[in-house]
Homo-oligomer: 294 residues x 2
């Protein structure tokens, strides 16, 4: 059990972490800080934190675990400030979906007395903000940790205890490996979604066509409703691998376009392959979840 | 009220039509025919049809409304056969998501005594087949009709009565106009989904990366699990407009790729525009549904 945990950034993820920790009685006190005034009070009323702090320093003071749950771009400054405001021995972790950049900032700014463990829970929702927070968001989700050779085992253990309290499934990855894979299965999807929304909205027929858009369009553009700041920061901190995945995606689309333009009757086989891959993925996902529940 | 309605093709859409018609008591008898043996009996047991027929001719005989709910590619042959097996005065309609090609077949094969009305309910689900059929699938959905100058008003009225019984919202469109818009909001999304699934599955890291794929990936690849035959037929019968939309989509993606590769800090504005467009679309959709419920 933690004595005091600080959550910095009280959006969907930060708020859900607080709710989950408090409901699991995994921390005696959960302190929270958010840059936007009023969010902290809202989080306290919703039961996500015990104490709403007016500054990063106030939240960090005396906390043995400090969780950064802001867009990744804000983490650079937060890590600089934590170098002096965190108590020695405190473990700092984050939840950003790009890891290499955050880790390089942490290793640049934090002293050895304040160890950092990069983390990334694979969890999300179509809605953002504290109002969308959900204590069960991390249940059975994959929670990546990306320790480096500088990460002390004791710090890793502290974050493993957090993951345990959340009911998530821990997975260790090298930071560049993590960023490369997540670029494909998480960042590419949101860019594909945004591009689809943009393609539709820029079309002269959009006003009329929008009425014909059904559940397929709804699902395929859901991610486009996500936080622009979060997406921008992800693109800026994982630019190289995202660009590579986008090149692959555009190549696949271009081949499909050629085959559709040529009235290729074998298109059904390509579609059947994709269907098979999708079904296989779903089976693996379900097995992984059920396996862990035993 | 209809005396007898025939549904040809008892998948998700055909089955749901039957369930909805029977639950609304809009037809004294619903006859059904499916090419795959056993599906008709299953549909009868599920309450989607009253009578499972062994042939198209048996289903069509005496039916005043014949609904084609097969993949669009199969409709050519069905229309040829209906020219002789449908009773004079029967109205034929379809539910395919491409209209120009089907209408040209109908006008080629059906005599003037058997009028055709092109239709397209904007409704779907992630699952297909009779087991996924749902009586409420069409409630409040947009149901497009694409009459031509050859469509008799009485035939149109018959299909309007069907749409009324389903609780759907009727909308008239010119066939090419329909096909152009649906290519953008329905066909492009499923191709984007299939291409995303393929891009991920073809990557050497897919086995490991697939474990990191969460709800965003799940939603963005949901359409890839749909029927390959249906998708193929849609591409073959709407090739030109789909190709055009794909060109636009690839151009938007290529611009995003360039900006991401260049670490463009203004990316957030592009993402905010997409977010705004998505939210505006959702508001319009909800208004349309609520407006009709009054």
């Amino acid at each position: 059990m933690f004595n005091r945990v600080a959550i910095i950034g009280l959006g969907l993820i930060g708020g859900s972490l607080g709710l989950a920790l408090r409901q699991a009685r995994a921390a005696r006190q959960v302190a929270g800080f958010d840059l936007y005034k009023g969010i902290g009070d809202r989080a306290r009323k919703l039961g996500a934190i015990d104490q709403s702090c007016a500054s990063l320093a106030e939240a960090a003071r005396g906390s043995e675990l400090i969780i950064l749950a802001t867009p990744v771009g804000a983490m650079r400054l937060l890590l600089q400030q934590l170098a002096t405001s965190a108590s020695p021995g405190a473990v700092v972790t984050d939840v950003a979906s790009t890891k290499a950049q955050v880790i390089s900032w942490a290793e640049e700014y934090l002293p050895a007395t304040i160890p950092f463990v990069g983390g990334h829970p694979i969890a999300g929702k179509e809605t953002s903000g504290i109002e969308a927070a959900d204590a069960t968001l991390f249940k059975q989700c994959v929670y990546c940790l990306t320790p480096t050779k500088r990460t002390p085992p004791a710090a890793l253990e502290r974050v493993a205890a957090l993951i345990d309290a959340l009911g998530a499934r821990m997975r260790f990855l090298e930071p560049p490996e993590h960023d490369g894979m997540v670029a494909g299965v998480s960042h590419l999807p949101f860019i594909a979604s945004i591009a689809l929304m943009q393609t539709a909205a820029l079309n002269p027929a959009w006003d009329d066509a929008s009425i014909l858009a059904g559940s397929g369009f709804r699902d395929m553009t859901r991610l486009a409703a996500g936080s622009p700041e979060m997406y921008r920061d992800i693109c800026l901190t994982n630019s190289e691998t995202i660009t590579r995945w986008l090149t692959d995606y555009i190549a696949v689309l271009s081949t499909l376009r050629e085959r559709i333009a040529a009235h290729d009757v074998n298109l059904g086989e390509v579609f059947a392959q994709a269907q098979k891959a999708r079904n296989a993925w779903q089976v693996v996902q379900e097995k992984a979840k059920n396996g862990d529940q035993k």
